[in-house]
């Protein structure tokens, strides 16, 4: 982990999320019309472009969260446990 710098950490958390969020937004809003759903459940009155944008960032947040956890769990166990490095 020490060899991987912050910039790559940030990229590997935000960037996969961005790609996945793009795909998820296209698929989701092709199938569901957010304005219709919002009208059905009495949600807020936002334009379609607004819903698409909100949806995109929500997907991005969720998938970035997943990437963050992946990065977190990738750390070697001994670092997490705070034991001494064998070398």
């Amino acid at each position: 982990m020490s060899q991987i710098l912050k910039v790559q950490w940030i990229i590997s958390i935000l960037w996969p999320g961005f790609l996945v969020a793009g795909a998820a937004t296209i698929v989701t809003f092709t199938v569901f019309d957010p304005v219709e759903i919002s009208a059905c459940i009495g949600g807020p009155d936002i334009s379609r472009t607004g819903w698409y944008s909100v949806g995109f960032f929500l997907f991005w947040f969720m998938s970035a969260l997943s990437s963050l956890l992946t990065c977190y769990f990738q750390q070697p166990c001994q670092v997490v446990q705070g034991t001494q490095d064998p070398e």
């Binding site: 020490s2 710098l5 790559q8 199938v31 944008s53 064998p86 070398e87």
Partner: protein, 474 residues
């Protein structure tokens, strides 16, 4: 395996010497100042840049039958592409198109390596134009390096400041064009200049603009190295007959500096004069003489610059050239290998499939939903009645008159139905329909029936949808 070995195994592998460029990039990014290059491939790259950027900035302004020719109208949930109008129901075509795009990438990569990266990738294209602006303001590589070493004096502030202002404005215009693919661009332009953009439009213009500025202005080769998924897996599509940019080691080594008039055989030198120009022109900062590296985006800048040097030295061109692994080793080439044939066949089949599917596309949709309030109703005359909600979507760009009928059971009687229904272009028409039938015709409690709809002026515009007719059976 002992605990210590296991722990060692789990640790990240130690860096290998071959990875030193990457390691240095991980450690601290060294700014790359690619030297300007002229030559055949540079000209091709400029041509690709002009064509692609011309398309990107020009296409939204094209008009077609009184509307924007290419408009992905997200608010209206319709995509306009010249004569075609696609609805969310047409997602299949988009999926097929994306599969064709992916397959073309595989095909071209197998044939000619990273053509996409070197000539067509937006990252390359925008970086290219950004570097052009940079060179116009700051000069070529040596001047840029000198400028960066200078303390912040008025010249540096002026040059750096004007460069970033120009790049930012250009990026914002890029963002504006991007939004113009989703909102009618002429109207968007008018509203932008009267500062009347909606909040989301403003947001996306700025977001996309800043993304362009960041990626092409600051990140540059790091996008290819760290962010591009294709760069990581493209080696899977390479084989020994894939066109790659390669240094002819057998010819070039041992490298060494010499006078132009020197006798290289006498000195025991190869053709490489170790001028390092190939390294200086590389936009990703690698040394092509170290062999094929995944950072190489195949832009061929090193080919052009080395050919120039070879000309000056009076040596043959092509010390660095487009070649194949087999070609370098003097083995025969296999242009028609199974991988290529499989990719080409799939690509042709899918493209033909898409063209056929679009040509056969019927711009009409019929959905039937049975009314859920009750299974059936018995009228005072003893007839059985079912209620359906029909949704007729006219996806054509013209108004049509449609004739509705049903089949599956004898003597079905439509109640409250107009004989024909007129649906405007792009309209979603909701039509509740009641059907009555004499129960003597019902042999089962659930019977399949089919609704038919057909345009009176165009019989090829026809759709069917099935549903069930439910009744009592003694």
């Amino acid at each position: 395996m002992s605990d210590v070995t296991a722990q060692k195994k789990r640790r990240a592998p130690e860096p290998e010497p071959a990875d030193e460029v990457q390691q240095s990039l991980y450690a601290k990014r060294e700014k790359i100042y690619p030297r300007e290059v002229h030559g055949t491939f540079a000209a091709l790259r400029v041509l690709a840049m002009v064509v692609l950027l011309g398309l990107y900035y020009g296409v939204p302004w094209l008009r077609w039958e009184g509307r924007q020719a290419v408009l992905f109208d997200l608010p209206a949930r319709k995509f306009f592409i010249f004569d075609w109008v696609f609805w969310p129901q047409d997602f299949f075509y988009l999926a097929l198109l994306l599969m064709i795009a992916a397959l073309s990438l595989f095909f071209f990569t197998a044939v000619a390596g990273r053509l996409w990266c070197g000539y067509a990738c937006p990252q390359t294209v925008w970086t290219e134009i950004f570097m052009w602006v940079e060179r116009k303001i700051e000069g070529d590589r040596p001047q840029q390096m000198k400028l960066d070493k200078l303390p912040w004096n008025s010249e540096k502030v002026l040059k750096k400041g004007s460069k970033h202002v120009i790049l930012l404005l250009f990026s914002l215009y890029t963002g504006f064009t991007f939004v113009g693919y989703f909102t009618p661009i002429d109207e968007l332009g008018a509203r932008m200049f009267s500062f009347d953009l909606g909040p989301w439009e403003t947001f996306w213009v700025i977001f996309y603009g800043l993304a362009t500025y960041g990626n092409a202005g600051w990140m540059r080769e790091q996008v290819c190295i760290y962010m591009c998924p294709y760069a990581r897996f493209q080696s899977a599509m390479f084989d020994k007959d894939t066109l790659v940019i390669s240094y002819d080691e057998a010819r070039g080594e041992p490298r060494g500096k010499r006078k132009r008039t020197a006798d290289r055989q006498g000195l025991g030198l190869g053709d490489c004069i170790d001028c390092t120009l190939c390294v200086q022109v590389c936009p990703t900062g690698i040394d092509i003489r170290k062999g094929l590296q995944y950072q190489c985006i195949g832009c061929a800048a090193c080919v052009d610059v080395c050919d120039d040097v070879m000309d000056k030295m009076g040596y043959d061109r092509g010390l660095v050239r487009y070649t194949t692994e087999n070609g370098l080793k003097g083995r025969p080439a296999h242009p028609l290998r199974p991988r290529i044939l499989v990719y080409a066949t799939l690509l042709l089949a899918m493209t033909a499939g898409l063209i056929y599917a679009i040509s056969q596309r019927i711009p009409l949709e019929l959905d039937v939903i049975r009314d859920r309030t009750g299974l059936y109703r018995e009228t005072s005359e003893g007839l059985v009645e079912n209620v359906y909600n029909l949704k007729v979507i006219n996806m054509d760009e013209r108004e049509h008159v449609y004739r509705l009928s049903a089949s599956g059971l004898p003597e079905m009687e439509f109640i409250n139905r107009k004989g024909e229904l007129t649906v405007a272009a792009g309209e979603v028409y909701n039509l509740p329909v009641r059907i009555r039938i004499d129960p003597i015709h019902l042999t089962r409690s659930t019977n399949e029936i089919t609704f038919h709809i057909e345009a009176t002026d165009a019989p090829e515009l026809a759709r069917e949808a099935t549903s069930r007719f439910i009744g009592p059976v003694d």
